[in-house]
Symmetry: C2
Subunit: 348 residues, 2 copies
């Protein structure tokens, strides 16, 4: 637990970590001191401290583990909303309008926008800058972009960690906006309490849209840009597909029609999200969903640490690269190498 009271209670920690202490010890800012300071500012609602913690968590700095251990106990309060849909469906505008609506209801909220990454630069392609139109100046809406690539433990783990930080910061709801329907997106959607799938009328062949798997991850379907022709056809296609799916939790996903650019349908969507959240929270399958999310998180964290620790122990002098080279040249096969590494493993 984070100790709110500074002073005496923190002394043991400080003393423990200041092994190089002395007359100048107060000037040397050890990592632990900085972490404590950061957490203190974080819990006071300091946005820069929040951003800094998220950056550390994303970059997996050495202190990010203790930060997350600290913050995990403070999380679990926010409604987490997943907003997904193809590029061009108008997700960003919809999310901006939802944010406005939640602000009007007095919420302090967060938007996590998962941006496709450039395989060349590794960075996000869109970046925060595009998102600043409506909400950027309102301190009640915290916006964070995350690149899809370059996360050590995978995008889903990184997103879960960032959501944990935002949750501990008291942001509610937390809207996670993703593009596409890859495995990563589906894993991210699993984090969400309520998943909203955004469609537009006439998006290519309707059947094509349905077969891409996007239909099966939604708790609520939004037909955005519904001032365009083809709304009824799209709605019929959605309802027909949904009628084939049997949900164990008994929730029947509704269709909400919006024109996000004009703010039409936004209040109905907020109301529908609230109703869905209440329903799913009280559903028996909620426990199973939470356990599935916890399992996935534990597994990906464990995989990451196991790999790192094992490579460090088995290849202490960077021989891992030689082995990789031999596989690339087909002088060794990866299956036998993995077998040999597993043989070295022991447990206390």
């Amino acid at each position: 637990m984070y100790r709110n009271a500074p002073g005496a209670e923190r002394e043991p920690d400080r003393a423990k970590h200041q092994v190089n202490g002395g007359p100048d010890a107060n000037k040397i800012r050890t990592p632990v001191e900085m972490t404590d300071e950061l957490l203190e500012r974080f819990f006071k609602g300091d946005t820069r401290a929040l951003s800094r913690i998220i950056t550390r968590v994303e970059n997996r700095t050495p202190d990010s583990l203790s930060l997350l251990q600290e913050l995990f106990a403070h999380s679990g309060k926010a409604q987490i909303l997943g907003i997904t849909g193809s590029p061009g469906a108008g997700k960003s505008t919809l999310v901006d309008r939802l944010a406005q609506a939640y602000r009007q209801r007095g919420n302090m909220l967060a938007i996590v926008a998962i941006d496709p990454s450039s395989p060349f630069t590794g960075g996000a392609i869109l970046g925060d800058r595009i998102r600043m139109q409506t909400q950027g100046i309102d301190p009640g809406v915290y916006i964070r972009s995350m690149a899809t690539r370059g996360h050590l433990g995978g995008l889903a783990t990184a997103t879960a960690d960032v959501v944990t930080v935002l949750d501990a910061a008291g942001k509610n709801p937390i809207m996670v906006e993703t593009v596409g329907v890859g495995q990563d997106e589906i894993d991210i959607v699993k984090l969400a309490d309520v998943s909203v799938v955004v469609l537009v009328p006439g998006m290519g062949d309707d059947v094509q849209a349905l077969k891409a798997g996007i239909m099966e991850i939604g708790d609520i379907f939004v037909i955005n840009k519904c001032d365009r022709p083809g709304v009824d056809k799209m709605e019929r296609a959605v309802l027909a597909t949904l009628s084939l799916a049997h949900r164990a939790d008994g929730w029947e996903p509704p269709v909400v029609k919006t024109v996000a650019t004009e703010g039409r349908g936004i209040d109905e969507l907020v109301e529908t999200i609230g109703r869905c959240y209440s329903f799913l929270q009280n559903s028996p399958s909620r426990v199973q969903k939470k356990q599935e999310a916890a399992r996935q998180r534990l597994v990906t964290l464990l995989e990451e640490r196991l790999l790192k620790t094992t490579v460090q122990h088995v290849f202490p002098n960077g021989e891992f690269n030689n082995v990789v080279g031999q596989i690339a040249d087909r002088k060794q096969d990866p299956y036998s190498i993995v077998d040999a590494i597993i043989q070295k493993l022991r447990f206390k």
Copy 2:
């Protein structure tokens, strides 16, 4: 190495594994015997043996490891082509036409179609059945669908393993067809010697299509359905985006226009793929790309085995589920649990 000569050479193996042997030993088909039989038929070109081995590899049966160890040495000869693009771009038709063209050139080839999975059933949504129109009756084209979900070591590893099997079977080229631009798809494309991105004129807002990251993974861009309006606009947008990207290998991705349904542009595409393959094979950055693929493969295989072995040792009686439950209830945090597990790890 696989021993082609049956008989004496195989006796030691057989004896070793027939610990329960006796008068009826010849009737008891041990797993190793079956594997040997399967490999023998596989190397004779038996398609059912090929399919059976792929199924075992996909399902990670106990003998799949030795199968892959055996086959890895026989792989590395095929041209691996990645074909990616949004749903509705006409990829399947294009791949079918490419397959016809390669057949006319005398190739025995394979198509691996990565199908979006249903999160409800876990199975592939499209399935092989849709692909059977043109090629299904030709034994020279081997078609395999893979679901995007439910692979223990992840989709990219499973695809690499399946491609290894097909490669060892002498299929060439091997076309891997994927939907979307998630991390998984990008990892799969990394396997490919040549990546083809399929676009269509007027697919939503051009900028939307470009920003989704799909532009940066292609060695060749196909504008399919180019009997539709908007071809020139799309081509200009593609070339403008490509002009921003600097490729270390010096290859300048060309744009090829096709109408796959009519077979138009297919011969040019085959020629372009061949030219690109030769160029990239002789490029110095080819070594780096191969090493990157080898590293990714080793890492994902290692992660999978490390996780399995560790969970079995640390939680021999299924206590893993209890831990997951405590995380779901926020009674424990996953970071501390992973830390405790890592502390138990030792190496010989």
